[in-house]
Structures are given as structure tokens and as C-alpha cells.
Symmetry: C2
Subunit: 336 residues, 2 copies
DNA sequence: ATGTTCGCCGAAAACCTTTTCGGCAAGTTT
DNA sequence: AAACTTGCCGAAAAGGTTTTCGGCGAACAT
């Protein structure tokens, strides 16, 4: 019965018009705020539309206008940790009533990505945002797509595309400055797999930051994996080999979590004897830690917002290309 | 220039037809595998379509067919932990080439939810999946929507709607059985805020499970918050007041994480002296723990897949209502 | 009274695709 | 040779909306 009493064919502009006793042309103009329609007539149309709860068919409108007011966000993310904040940022930037953003998930699979691309293009989205789960360059979707594309977080390999990425090098430098401003001088770096651009960039930032202060890294950058386990192992080795260490910059929050665990179990006071910083500001890790973990926020909402603005500009005609880096932001908590 | 050389008006079926020297009717039939078209003609049309990389306009098709082959997924999730697995499950169940699922995020805000609902309905989706971030009942989207709706994870308050939820009561019972089969008898329960249905359901399952074995809970269910901090605090108190405890069922993985930390620091051997189980099977917590945490998977992909099937049935006419519970699955690791 | 402006409305075209149905030519049957 | 079937193709309608443009009546100027 829930099916039976559903209005099988939904109300159309023609229904509104006949109810209001006008033509569809006038009804359309009345609803869209065009002038050339008498105030009384407009009022009649509005109540008629309200009465039958008319919603304009976006398919027909899009077909005619050649624009749908829709942008697609294709993500390769598996758990939404990167893509949802970017989605939110983009939505906020587009503002309500204008453009809708719809997400679909390719799970890092290029077949699925192509499938979603086709689905979105055939539905005539006005633009695309492509999100990856690592900052390593990824293959371009192609040069002669019928709509503009912005790559977010994971840049395109093609310089003709526009990509937006967090500035990991500068973020890492900022961490160094932050620790040095807290009086730390013997700084180590524990990070993830060396084949990640994020690991390389952050390590480079740490190096350059220390160099600019005339310092150098304690024991060199320790590459491993992005896990708590590695954080624990590497930290245990670190404090044994370098008992004078007074700061650890970790490649992400999980490694930092592992570092904190090992330090606590070894009786090292944080932040009394040593400071620890994470990266990514994944809240479930930073505020679960003891003490709460100082980290670096990579501003994904801002990335999404800028992606939306750039897309809007491109839809309106002006186009950019290349890689744009966005600043990160240190979130001080209790480990520094 | 990237804009300038974009084909401003995309190829249409008319272009294909004129290139192949046939009418649009024949071109359509050729591309859609209809019979009534000569093999040679079909081949000509196909190469023509390929040549100008024609993609059919889904707007026009949907306008005509009254169906768009699209379902919308509205989530209230903030980090995608629940909604993305459900999205994936739904996609897999629909299968490729048939239906596309697009996600939009209301962030738990009913204004935004209404906005996205309107956006999806005006784009004439064929159905909706509504996902929440807690298992507490949520307000219905309404009874006379023009398309079928399935609520997943967070059920609707309206019994006329169809809702799919994980069976937390049975899941908790299974945990009890699991611990008892491992020889545990003195079992405690530490869980989250008492105003969460998930906390109540899981606590009830634990109670009922123990009763069915003639046992009872050690110290009663400990409600607190879904955090590591609470897991640590409650566990410290627990082992002080009940040194004979040999099993802790935690309301989620973060609480379990906190419990493990406190046990390790108190010198309790896990799983030698005591077993610990989490809930939700959030991998980043279960495999980061020492030892790796046994947990309960709430099968979100299966939930999404069933949502897709139910939606498909409803679109085809048959309709159900009420709440369907899906079984959970214990994932044994090293803490039991 | 004639011509002109102005305000408001409606018919029709356009967007792109799918499906129905009529038509035409070639081949088949009586 | 006439009647019929078969295979293939194309014209046209339909779907819902927006925009353009012509029209019509009323108010105004001469």
C-alpha cells in the first residue's frame, strides 16, 4: 500500500499551470521570478505549485540549459578520512542553492574510476573533483574531457591539469620551527614507507628546517610504515641510541601514538624531557593519546573549498593549471 | 587554451547518425542493441559513435524513461566510517552498468538533509538510502515521498519505513558465548554513553547472554563515554574492585584500546590472565593495539548490499517495512 | 479618432533520446 | 502475375522545462 498510494507520476509544470489557469510559459516565469508577469498571477501560480507540492524536474531543466548544477567528486579513499572533509569544504564553498556535490568511490581501482567517470559525464555534471588517498601523483583522467577537473590531495601527473595539495614540506618546516621555539635542539624524525611522497616531502621539510637553523637530524630520517607498531619500535631504538634526543617529529599521528606509548613505558616524561608531534591531526588519535597529541592539520576543508572555487572559475571560462600547495596548520596540544 | 579547445557542445546522437548516414532512430537502435537494424548499418553507426566519442545524454534518457538509474545516499556521518562501507556494499549489490549510487553528506544537520533531499529528488533519483552515525532511531524523511527509501544503520522512528540495523543484542550475546567458550566466567562490560541505543543494546545482549549461562555481570555495565580515556579509567577501577575478573567486553574498540593500555601497565597478561574484546572492528584500532584486538564486525558492507536489494525490490513494486536486523561477526585476534 | 507605447500573456521552439508505427523494397507463396 | 511475408529504415511523438517572440487589450499622446 505504501507503493500504491505513491503519486506514480509526479506533478509537472503543466499541472501547476492548469490549476492556476495560466499557460506553462507564464507558470514558469512566475516561479522563476521573471518579470513580465502580473503580481496577482504570480501569487496564484505560487499557491498552485505549493498546493500540489511541485518540484521542477532538474533533468528537463539541465537538458535545456546545458548545465546541471552538479559536480562529481570521485575518490579513491577507502575510509573517507580524506574525501569527506574535502567534500564538506567544497559544498560550503559552492554555497547552498547553487551547486550540488555528489561523491562516488572508486576504491583506488582504475576500472571503477573509469566507470564512475562515465556515469558522471553521461549525467552531465558541470565539473569534477578527483581525490586520492596519498599525495603521490596519479594518472590524469585525460586532457580533452568535456568538463573541467580539479585534482585534490593526490595531484595529477599531467602539468596541464590543476592539482591542489597540502604543503607538506612547509608543514614539516613549521614543525621544526615550533619545536625549536620550545627550546628543542636534538630532533629526530620517524615516518612511514619511503615510497610515499608524503614521507619524502615531510622528511625533506624537516631536513631543510633544521638546516636553516644550523642543526641536523638526529640519526637521519627513520622510514618504516605508517603504523603504531613502527612508532614503538623506532622510538625504542632511538632513545637507546640517542639518549639526548629531546624532540620527535612523527610522519603521522599513528606513529606518534606508538612513540608516546614507548616513551611512557620507558619512563620518559612528555613533554618534560621530550616533545612529540604527529601529523594529519586525526582527532581520534590525537585526543585518545596520553598526553593529547600536538599535530599538524592539513586543512582538507580548505582544500575542498579551493577546489570548488577553482572549478567554478573554470566552468565560467578562466582556467589554471599546475600544482597549488596549501599551508598546513599546527594544532598545539599537550605533547609539546 | 585548455578551455578553448574543449568541445563546447558535446556530440549528440544526431551527429552520430549524420556521420553514419542514417536517421537518429536507426542510430539509437543500433547503439542499444535493438534488432530491426542491418548488421552493416549497426557497424557503421558504432564506428561513427566511437569516432566522435559519443556518450548518450542521461538527462534526455531519464526524462523519457522516467527512471534515472541513480540512487542517492544521504549520510549524517562526519568521517565516513559508517557511510563509505555501506556505499561500497550498495554499489556492489547493484552491480555495474545498472545503477549508480551517489553520496551526499548532511553532517547530522536536518536543514542540510532537507536540502540534499530536495536536490536528489529534483534530479529524479530512483531511490534513497539514508545513513546515520548512531543506531538510535531518527526522524523519518516522510511518508509520501515519490521514491522508496531505506534507512541503514540508523533506523527511522516510523514503522512504515524500512530500516536495516546491525543486531547489536545478538552480537553482544555472541561475544559472551565466545568468552565463555574460552573458559572465562567473571566478565565485565565497559561501554559508552548510556543515551546511545548501541550502548543499551550491547549491554542488554551481554546481560541476556550471561543469564542464559547462569552467570551475571561483574559489577554491572559501566557506562561512560566511547573514548580510550574512559576505557583506561574504568578498567583501573575494575581490576582494583574485582581482581578476579577474567574477561572484559568493551562497547567499542577505543574503550578496549584504553582497557588494554591499563592492563598492560598494571602487569596483567592479555590474553593469559584476562580476555578483552572490542566492538565495531575499526581496523586502525584493532591492529594498532598490543596485542591485536579481537572485535566484532558489524558487517556494514552487507548492510549496504541488503539496502540496495531492498531498494531494488521497492522500485520494482514490492515493498516492506519495519526494522530488519543483520548479524554481526566476531573477528578473533590476539586478545582472547 | 488615430497612432503609439506599455504591460501582460501564450504559442512554439529547443534540448536529446527512445519507441512506435507506417512504408518501402525484396523475396516468397499460390 | 498477384498476393503476401519479411527485413530494414525513418518520421514523429513523447518527456518537462525555459526562452523568444508575436499578440492583444488598455492607457497614453497627438
Amino acid at each position: 500500500m505504501t507503493i500504491a498510494d505513491k503519486p506514480q507520476n509526479r506533478p509537472t509544470l503543466r499541472d501547476v499551470a492548469s490549476l492556476a489557469g495560466v499557460s506553462v510559459a507564464t507558470a514558469s516565469k512566475a516561479l522563476n521570478g521573471r518579470d513580465q508577469v502580473h503580481p496577482d498571477t504570480r501569487a496564484r501560480v505560487l499557491v498552485a505549485a505549493e498546493k500540489i507540492s511541485f518540484t521542477p524536474n532538474a533533468l528537463a531543466r539541465g537538458l535545456l540549459a546545458g548545465q546541471t548544477g552538479t559536480v562529481g567528486l570521485i575518490t579513491g579513499d577507502l575510509d573517507g578520512r580524506f574525501s569527506l572533509p574535502i567534500l564538506m569544504g567544497a559544498e560550503d564553498a559552492f554555497g547552498k542553492g547553487k551547486m550540488s556535490v555528489f561523491l562516488c568511490d572508486a576504491r583506488g581501482d582504475s576500472i571503477r574510476e573509469q566507470y564512475h567517470l562515465d556515469a558522471l559525464l553521461s549525467r552531465r555534471v558541470d565539473g569534477l573533483i578527483v581525490v586520492g588517498s596519498r599525495t603521490d601523483p596519479r594518472p590524469s583522467l585525460g586532457r580533452n574531457l568535456p568538463v573541467p577537473v580539479v585534482y585534490a590531495y593526490a595531484p595529477s601527473t599531467d602539468d596541464n591539469d590543476l592539482s591542489l595539495v597540502p604543503d607538506d614540506v612547509q608543514g614539516a618546516k613549521d614543525c621544526v620551527d615550533f619545536l625549536i621555539s620550545r627550546g628543542r635542539r636534538k630532533i629526530a624524525h620517524i615516518t612511514g614507507q619511503p615510497d610515499y611522497a608524503a614521507a619524502q616531502d615531510r622528511a625533506r621539510g624537516v631536513d631543510e628546517g633544521l638546516s636553516s637553523h644550523g642543526l641536523s637530524l638526529l640519526g637521519g630520517a627513520q622510514f618504516g610504515s605508517w603504523t603504531e607498531q613502527w612508532g614503538r619500535t623506532a622510538t625504542a631504538r632511538l632513545i637507546e641510541q640517542h639518549p639526548d634526543v629531546d624532540g620527535i617529529l612523527c610522519g603521522n599521528d599513528q606513529i606518534a601514538r606508538g612513540a608516546l606509548d614507548t616513551l611512557r613505558e620507558s619512563g620518559w616524561d612528555v613533554p618534560g624531557r621530550i616533545s612529540v608531534m604527529g601529523y594529519d591531526n586525526w582527532e581520534v588519535f590525537t585526543t585518545g593519546a596520553r598526553p593529547h597529541l600536538t599535530s599538524v592539520d592539513i586543512n582538507l576543508e580548505a582544500l575542498g573549498a579551493l577546489a570548488a572555487r577553482r572549478l567554478f572559475e573554470a566552468i565560467d571560462g578562466s582556467s589554471r593549471s599546475g600544482i597549488e600547495s596549501l599551508p598546513c596548520r599546527i594544532v598545539p596540544r599537550e605533547t609539546t
